[in-house]
């Protein structure tokens, strides 16, 4: 019998019951909860007079609607405020642990799960948010769910799921100096497309992935959803185990020994069969910049804006023309001549300590260019903010002209006050460059933190490795 993939191992460990119709009842170990997709789930429980199956499996924090400036005044927008207050109320009514807005542990759900050790290898992790794929970096099976599924997990600790197909994306060899996890994942999406992973759970492997830190692996898995896959994952190794050790929710003592033993099995067997495999040569990856309105519309920074005239597929050509139009770009413009108005370093893709260090390294001793209206750095959690301040990174960044903010989703989706004005162009470390994502009419270019910082310094895109 052929060996199992990592996905199959975790799946098999979590099947409560085979429904016999191609779906199974899958046990969920951890549910992360935020203010946007949970209120109706809580209301549904109340209406049906149901309780939480396992209160301790849930962990909540507000992130999408929280202000990133002075919080002592509370939240100005009444709808945002109501969502956050409703989360507070629901968590207290149902007994769920919540890191509230004024708690140092508050942050973006996908940042705080791993930070607290609430995301552990081999777990099934869900959240009413598509970027839950992030947690797959720990050799966990993690994916986003809809509000009715949030309620389902709250009430039953299970989800009805159909098994995904499996895809191995292997990034072989070594990346060049200065190439980050973000460049790797953007290059992968550029290669397989935003629908390339549809129906699959992707396992990221190969030397270049193994060489990444846990932060980097989270960045890669975060964007698995942008490649169409609901889940992305990376096999457990010593780095995974070292990262998890000693965190508040991590197992201790004897249980730790027992857990590590189990976690060491969390990799695909050498003879496991994937439904599809893709190989990417790490050495060919350049710093990436998106030029369009979909993450697959991406090129190396040394390239030009693609020309729709060279596209033979009619549908794709139309899409390119529409994207260039929206982005206000002309075909064949060198990417490094494109000027930006704003710079956003943050989001669940790139707001961890390593990301902030990378931005600070570029910013050190330099100044934000005069054409930049706003360059902001938004840490992923209060604890990351604290650590960065202990390392003096906030000083380096603010001296260079960056704004240093409070943790949250911020301008990743502009649900709070941080947003682009119509026509403004932004170098952003987030994960989606869809039309209007960062504010109506706003133009988003996805890049790594180092590339974003470099764009802030130069006022236009530039290859950070040549800076």
């Amino acid at each position: 019998m052929a060996g199992k993939t990592l996905y199959e191992k975790i799946w098999d460990q979590h099947v409560v019951r085979d429904n016999g119709d191609g779906t199974a009842l899958l046990y969920i170990d951890r549910q992360l909860v935020h203010e946007v997709t949970s209120p109706q789930a809580f209301e549904g429980l109340r209406l049906a007079d149901r309780k939480l199956w396992r209160v301790d499996a849930n962990l909540a924090t507000p992130d999408h609607n929280v202000p990133t400036t002075d919080r002592s005044k509370g939240i100005e927008d009444p709808i945002s405020r109501l969502q956050v207050e409703t989360l507070d109320q629901n968590c207290s009514d149902f007994g769920i642990t919540e890191f509230k807005m004024d708690d140092i542990r508050q942050g973006i759900v996908h940042v705080i799960g791993p930070e607290q050790g609430a995301t552990l290898p081999g777990m099934t992790v869900v959240c009413g948010d598509s970027h839950t794929s992030t947690h797959g970096a720990f050799g966990a099976l993690a994916h986003g769910i809809g509000t009715s599924e949030v309620e389902h997990v709250m009430a039953t600790q299970c989800l009805v799921q159909a098994k995904s197909k499996t895809m191995l994306v292997s990034v072989d060899g070594e990346v060049n100096a200065g190439i980050t996890a973000k460049d790797i994942v953007l290059a992968i999406i550029g290669e397989i497309g935003t629908a390339g992973g549809t129906g699959y759970a992707i396992e990221f492997g190969g030397d270049a992935i193994r060489a990444l830190s846990m932060e980097g692996r989270m960045t890669v898995c975060n964007m698995a959803i942008e490649a169409g896959a609901r889940a992305g994952m990376v096999a457990v190794d010593q780095k995974t185990i070292d990262f998890v050790k000693g965190r508040p929710y991590s197992p201790k003592d004897e249980q730790w020994q027992q857990a590590v033993k189990a976690w060491n099995e969390l990799h695909s067997d050498s003879d496991a069969q994937f439904d599809t495999s893709v190989n990417i040569d790490a050495a060919t990856i350049k710093p990436q910049v998106t030029w369009g309105t979909s993450p697959e519309m991406v090129v190396g920074v040394d390239n030009k804006v693609p020309d729709p005239d060279n596209e033979t597929d009619d549908v794709k050509r139309e899409g390119m023309i529409a994207a260039l139009n929206y982005m206000g770009l002309t075909a064949n413009t060198p990417m490094n001549e494109i000027e930006v108005d704003k710079v956003f370093i943050g989001s669940c893709t790139n707001s961890r300590i390593e990301d902030i260090r990378a931005a600070a390294e570029v910013a050190k001793g330099r100044k934000v260019a005069s054409n930049i209206k706003l360059a902001m750095v938004v840490p992923g959690s209060g604890l990351i903010k604290q650590q960065a301040e202990q390392e003096g990174l906030d000083k380096i960044l603010t001296e260079a002209g960056f704004e240093w903010r409070e943790p949250g989703c911020s301008m990743c989706l502009a649900m709070n006050a941080d947003r682009l004005e119509p026509g403004e162009r932004c170098a952003s470390t987030s994960n989606r460059n869809f039309e209007g994502r960062q504010g109506q009419g706003g133009r988003t270019h996805l890049v790594s933190p180092a590339m974003a910082a470099a764009a802030a310094i130069k006022g236009h895109f530039v290859d950070v490795t040549t800076l």
């Binding site: 009842l25 209406l47 149901r50 709808i79 009430a155 197992p251 857990a259």
Partner: protein, 212 residues
């Protein structure tokens, strides 16, 4: 979820194709933190003459007298008669929530949008697909008769008209079972409580750190 077995109720006609989820419940109401209370804003843009926003006192707003649900003869309707592709648009569940909150338990149409179709059944609304000619006839019947009612019997999969004539309809066995018994997804899963408990028992020995 409330059971559905039989219903005899007034029929309201929605005589246009492709009624999308935005028309059923406009976007501005999706910011709500509730799943109930959408009834007064069902078909908001058609129903009122002003622009609706969450939090308004709907009883004070100017009604569009022309709109079908505002006409006296359709007050208390619980069955909606509609045209092709009813419920197209967004995947959010607000559209069935709004229909249900208003009081509709049955929608009859020649076709429905996919996601809306499954969302509606999940929320206890019976959707019935009938041939275009049958639908056409029903539209003329409703127009011709004040207070026109139909009797829907899910068990027997029949719609009985006032004159005693019967229309048969199809419904997926699984969905029928759920509606008849008032089982939503959670209710169904909770039929397997023993399996879940057995799993937890076994797993807490295998991987105790997951149950701290």
């Amino acid at each position: 979820m409330e059971k559905f077995t039989k219903l005899k109720a007034i029929v309201a006609p929605m005589d246009r194709p492709n009624v999308d989820t935005d028309a059923i419940i406009p976007k501005q109401f999706l910011k709500s933190i509730k799943r109930s209370g959408f009834g007064p804003n069902l078909f908001d843009e058609w129903r009122y003459l002003d622009h609706g926003e969450p939090g308004m006192d709907n009883s004070q707003r100017p009604l569009n007298k022309e709109f079908v649900l505002n006409q006296d003869r359709y007050q208390g309707a619980q069955i909606l008669l509609a045209r092709e592709n009813f419920g197209c648009g967004s995947s959010r569940e607000h559209a069935p929530w709004a229909l249900l909150d208003y009081g509709f338990r049955v929608v009859i149409a020649p076709s429905f949008a996919d996601i809306f179709f499954s969302n509606s059944f999940k929320n206890g609304i019976l959707l019935i697909k009938l041939d275009t000619q049958v639908i056409e006839q029903l539209f003329s019947d409703v127009a011709a008769n004040q207070g026109y009612e139909l009797s829907v019997d899910l068990e027997n999969q029949t719609i009985t008209k006032a004159d005693g004539s019967v229309i048969k309809f199809d419904v997926d066995e699984f969905r029928k079972h759920r509606l008849l018994n008032g089982l939503d997804d959670i209710g169904l899963t909770l039929q397997h409580v023993d399996d879940i408990k057995a799993y937890e028992q076994r797993r807490s020995v295998e991987a105790p750190w997951l149950f701290n």
